[in-house]
């Protein structure tokens, strides 16, 4: 039973789920407020943007790419939404501006990487600089602060006390991503490009188009994240998005999506995001200095890369064998 489940869901996802549960148990035993509905809500709400950005990065990593400028795309989209809200535009229209700006920036990044034939890591470090300066120029030295709360009313409302309404969008996005990845030719092409680009090309896959499309998906999801960012924080400061890329890449890689491409796990990404945000929250709750939080994210990322495949797979084979043996006995 467990072995079958492990096979179906995947070893990495089960390991992560176990880590999430273990972390929750430890924090709950150290602090009585950890499992309070308000705190559960806080963890889930603080995961909102990372859930979407991580989902987009899963597509990018699946083709063997990477994007370290995702936080800046979120920033530029957030500035667009913020300015529209300030100009009195209808909040639903302003919310739409986020994904549109993100899509455009993603298309730009993808084009630079693919048509410029620049390694993605180098290209997106360059674009990070370009986008960050764009944020400076757009904000002109003054923060967008105290924006109208119209978007907050739509997206920060709670379902069942602990889940923000923004999660309706997130669930739909993950479901759509699942269908695209597993049930459409495009999804197959994505993974094929990530696995072996040359072979995919020879098999007639439009490799360039597929790669640019992956960055467009990621950009659009960063834009949706920007909408929720504005709903949650109602301000855009100069350093917007500066910690996003590390958290998001760590979450996706933790989730079992291969940094080398060809392998994607949506459930893994969601669990990775949850684990990172939960650790950050739990450390503050139990009173550990917040200075250590980036260290934890960094170490998790390194651990995930080190453990990649071998150890985890081996553990679950043995675990599966054990369960099977006990059942036959």
């Amino acid at each position: 039973m467990l072995a079958k489940l492990a096979q179906r869901i995947g070893g990495r996802e089960l390991t992560l789920l176990a880590a999430v549960v273990a972390a929750a148990v430890v924090f709950a035993s150290l602090s009585p407020v950890f499992l309070h509905p308000n705190n559960v809500y806080a963890i889930i709400r603080n995961s909102t943007e990372l859930m979407l950005i991580g989902l987009g990065l899963t597509f990018v990593l699946a083709i063997g790419g990477i994007d370290v400028s995702v936080g800046m795309i979120l920033g530029i989209a957030a500035i667009a939404i913020g300015n529209l809200l300030l100009a009195g535009v209808d909040p639903w229209l302003a919310a739409l501006a986020g994904p549109l700006v993100g899509l455009a920036l993603g298309a730009f990044s993808g084009t630079v990487i693919v048509l410029g034939r620049i390694p993605a890591i180098v290209a997106t470090i360059g674009l990070l600089g370009v986008y960050r300066t764009t944020i400076f120029a757009l904000l002109g030295g003054s923060w967008l602060s105290g924006l109208p709360s119209s978007l907050s009313e739509i997206f920060a409302a709670r379902i069942a006390g602990v889940i923000p309404t923004s999660y309706i969008v997130i669930v739909v996005a993950y479901a759509a991503a699942f269908v695209v990845l597993r049930r459409t030719p495009f999804g197959l092409h994505l993974l094929a490009v990530g696995n072996a680009e040359e072979r995919a090309r020879l098999s007639g896959v439009a490799v360039r188009k597929v790669r640019i499309a992956a960055y467009m998906v990621s950009g659009a999801l960063c834009g949706i994240a920007a909408t929720f960012y504005i709903a949650n924080y109602r301000n855009v400061e100069m350093t917007v998005g500066s910690t996003v890329a590390l958290d998001a890449i760590a979450a996706v890689v933790l989730g079992g999506t291969s940094i080398l491409g060809g392998k994607a796990s949506l459930l893994g990404t969601a669990l990775g995001v949850l684990l990172i945000r939960m650790l950050q929250n739990g450390f503050t709750i139990v009173g550990l200095p917040s200075l250590w939080q980036p260290v934890v994210t960094g170490v998790l990322l390194l651990l995930a890369l080190t453990l990649e495949r071998a150890a985890v797979a081996g553990l679950f084979r043995r675990l599966g064998g054990l369960v099977a043996a006990r059942r036959t006995a």
Binding site: H36, A42, G146, T239, S290, L291
Partner: protein, 327 residues
């Protein structure tokens, strides 16, 4: 041989002319903020620019984009290499700048601090916005007068290496130990420069401490996060936010009641005083115990023992006066 002499002579003449040309240019005063592009330092820049016009110097404003001490040091190093006559720094990492101060001295340049000090670096002078003592004590006294002496208070700070932020936290802690025995101060949390991290830390602190009564945003970059977190948690009236926040940044939170008041000074006046001090140093004029600065109303005290030039008392911004300021 003759031609070589001619070349040398011409070269010397050209150099001499160039020397004259350089000497005729205005002296340069640089200010290196902790990061560029935030309203606070923009305001200092504007004040510095005004003083530069007033006192006939060229003003250079350049700094890192993300409050990174290594980037800041490189920028200072570049200015020293260019031979900029007076360089002022809002220090990010006080322990890192001593070597570059020594190098500037060896070149005959003036290197001093403004806004955030590096006391043991050998700098010429520190242009202080308000005494750290005054800022720390004003904030905690104002906060306790509003939420009572029996209170639990949290800090959300910026970078753990910012010497000015740490100095204020220390003074608040000392003041509480000495004057308010019933106040409980939580360990400071550090959000870096990111306001969403500040909001997360603020909301986590409120969750972990249901009896929290006050939240101090120590760095200006953490102000929107703290204000927003109190609004989102629906804790207006229960938790009072405050901090070292500019009126523009805190305005909407002061109006909503999430922040009761904020404490700061006028950064434009600080930038103005910084450039004036740079000009004095270049001219080799010593600071008096009390200085009259053209363009500033109040006399500016100078403490020779600590080498601190002091702008004045901090300002408390509340619902009643926040509309009078724009920075």
């Amino acid at each position: 041989m003759k031609s070589l002499k001619t070349v040398l002579a011409t070269g010397v003449a050209v150099l001499a002319l160039a020397g004259v040309a350089i000497a005729q240019e205005k002296p340069r005063v640089a200010f290196v903020p902790q990061l560029i592009g935030i309203p606070y330092f923009n305001s200092m820049e504007a004040g510095g620019q005004k003083a530069a016009e007033e006192f006939g110097v060229e003003f250079i404003y350049t700094g890192p984009v993300d409050a990174n001490p290594i980037d800041q040091l490189q920028i200072v190093q570049n200015l020293v290499n260019q031979g900029v006559e007076a360089i002022s720094i809002s220090t990010i990492d006080a322990s890192a700048i001593a070597p570059v101060v020594a190098e500037a001295k060896a070149k005959g340049l003036k290197l001093f601090t403004s806004d955030s000090d590096a006391p043991d670096s050998g700098r010429d002078v520190y242009v202080a916005q308000a005494s750290d003592q005054g800022l720390g004590e004003t904030l905690i006294d104002q906060l306790v007068s509003r939420i009572g002496e029996d209170a639990k208070i949290g800090f959300v700070s910026g970078d753990a290496t910012s010497s000015n932020l740490n100095a204020w936290i220390k003074i608040i802690q000392d003041r509480v130990a000495e004057k308010y025995p019933n106040v409980t101060l939580l360990e400071p949390q550090f959000a870096g420069g990111s306001s969403d991290r500040a909001a997360q830390l603020a909301s986590d602190l409120m969750t972990a401490n249901p009896d929290l009564k006050g939240l101090i945003a120590v760095a200006s970059s953490t102000c929107p996060g703290v204000g927003q977190a109190i609004e989102t948690a629906g804790k207006i009236g229960e938790v009072l936010g405050t901090g070292y926040c500019s009126p523009n940044t805190a305005r909407s939170y002061i109006e909503s009641g999430a922040m009761g008041f904020t404490v700061l000074w006028d950064p434009a006046a600080l930038g103005y005083l910084t450039v004036w001090a740079g000009k004095q140093l270049i001219d080799g004029k010593p600071f008096e115990a009390s200085n009259t600065v053209p363009g500033l109303d109040q006399p500016i005290p100078y403490d020779a023992a600590t080498g601190i030039l002091l702008l004045g008392d901090p300002t408390v911004f509340t619902k009643d006066n926040v509309g009078n300021f724009d920075f």
